[in-house]
């Protein structure tokens, strides 16, 4: 696993006085990236809360969990199915449930239930790499509709179906030979930023 910076920096401007963010983490690598993201959000003075129902046994990911716990980031024991509760408590949801590695039928529960709830939230969703539940190539009809997509390394094919407000790529630290090999042609990153917006906000 590359030690490249696994930091997603979504930059929404939050309407509420307390910058609360719900980070929903799935059982595999996408979830682990969510944990790292939550920790950085905390450092940036946001107030993240994590929902991480199915924890990976991977020691690296267990350490990420410890780091979050020690930083006083609360872990929910269940996700409210009453969407209004989520809308009221948080300014945004970070969807780190399923990434590009997930297969359609994998990890049915509790992911399916989580995604069913997330489909109905009114607050913005920021998806990491792939909107969870979408097919990585074909996209999805009837799945969640994120407001912001942060593509990791490079956009996946399903990103073409993304209709939200902002699409960022976090792939600055990919070695050049990897970029060339996969013909990634990334855009210019401004200054020392590690994310670049692919589309101007609407």
């Amino acid at each position: 696993i590359p030690i490249s910076s696994r930091q997603a920096f979504p930059l929404p401007s939050l309407p509420r006085k307390q910058p609360t963010v719900l980070v929903v983490c799935g059982p595999a690598q996408n979830g682990a990236i969510g944990l790292v993201c939550a920790r950085h959000l905390r450092i940036f003075d946001y107030e993240p809360t994590i929902f991480y129902p199915k924890r990976s046994p991977d020691p690296l990911y267990r350490d990420f969990t410890t780091q979050c716990e020690k930083m006083d980031i609360p872990f929910l024991s269940y996700l409210p199915t009453e969407v209004q509760l989520i809308n009221a408590a948080y300014n945004a949801v970070v969807d780190a449930v399923l990434g590009a590695e997930a297969e359609a039928g994998e990890g049915r529960e509790p992911c399916a239930a989580i995604l069913a709830t997330l489909k109905h939230v009114r607050i913005p969703i920021v998806s990491l790499d792939v909107p969870s539940g979408w097919d990585v190539e074909a996209g999805s009809s009837g799945g969640i509709s994120p407001d912001v997509l942060v593509s990791l390394s490079a956009p996946k094919q399903c990103a073409r179906r993304f209709l939200g407000r902002q699409h960022f790529v976090a792939g600055r630290f990919l070695p050049y030979d990897v970029q060339k090999k996969f013909e990634l042609n990334p855009p210019e990153y401004p200054g020392t930023e590690c994310v670049v917006a692919l589309r101007a906000p609407r």
Partner: protein, 227 residues
């Protein structure tokens, strides 16, 4: 020095951070700070060439990470890494640099004039806050040469060769210091132009416990300019 070591210890044992994680964030901070103070357009050498001198420990590791990010930011780093620990972490970092076509010198330029001609900046990643005692070769001669160059030097965490608390009046006088986590006592003796704080990973609870009183970082930046 003990406090810095205690904070590190807590980060590793209590918070379960890996050395890799923190070193990556530290090295990234250094490259970012350098990019802010010495943008590629400011170099008088034909390319934005930077010499990164890496010591035998973690400070050297920070330097390797820094070199890799400098390359990403459009600089042309070259590394001198004479004493390499045979640990996977350092071997990995070295490979990452090599795969990014960052050259590794087989010997240190003997003449200060040669360094000044080839490089617009030297990154001092030789010794860090764990440094104690006498400087062993080849680093003694390297530091001697570095003291005679005119190109600016950016030191990572502690100007190498300085006493971590008292400084060293007749030692290296870098133009830039990037303090990691928090400035060390020696930073009080720093007289260069740029002092940055990097290593934005210290949890609030630890900051309070050790009364670090760090000023706030701007937005999502990983560095803060102190002077």
């Amino acid at each position: 020095q003990e406090e810095a070591q205690a904070i590190d210890q807590e980060l590793f044992t209590e918070y379960k951070f890996s050395v890799d994680q923190l070193m990556e964030l530290a090295g990234l901070s250094c490259a970012t700070a350098i990019a802010k103070a010495y943008p590629p357009s400011s170099f008088t050498t034909s390319q934005p060439a930077v010499l990164v001198v890496c010591g035998p420990g973690n400070n050297g590791g920070d330097g390797l990470v820094c070199a890799r990010h400098l390359k990403m930011f459009g600089y042309e780093p070259t590394v001198y890494y004479p004493k390499r620990p045979s640990k996977a972490l350092f071997e990995g970092l070295t490979t990452q640099c090599q795969k990014m076509d960052i050259p590794f010198l087989s010997e240190f330029p003997a003449e200060p004039a040669l360094i000044d001609e080839l490089y617009g900046l030297v990154v001092d990643a030789i010794f860090g806050f764990s440094f104690k005692g006498a400087v062993r070769e080849p680093f003694g001669s390297i530091l001697g040469t570095l003291q005679r160059i005119t190109a600016p030097i950016a030191s990572i965490d502690i100007p190498s060769g300085w006493d971590v608390e008292k400084g060293k009046a007749d030692g290296l006088q870098p133009d830039m210091l990037i303090s990691l986590t928090a400035p060390k006592k020696a930073a009080a003796h720093f007289t260069g132009r740029y002092h940055f704080l990097g290593g934005r990973f210290v949890p609030a609870a630890l900051q309070q416990k050790y009364a670090l009183n760090l000023p706030p970082y701007p937005a999502t930046d990983c560095v803060l300019q102190l002077t």
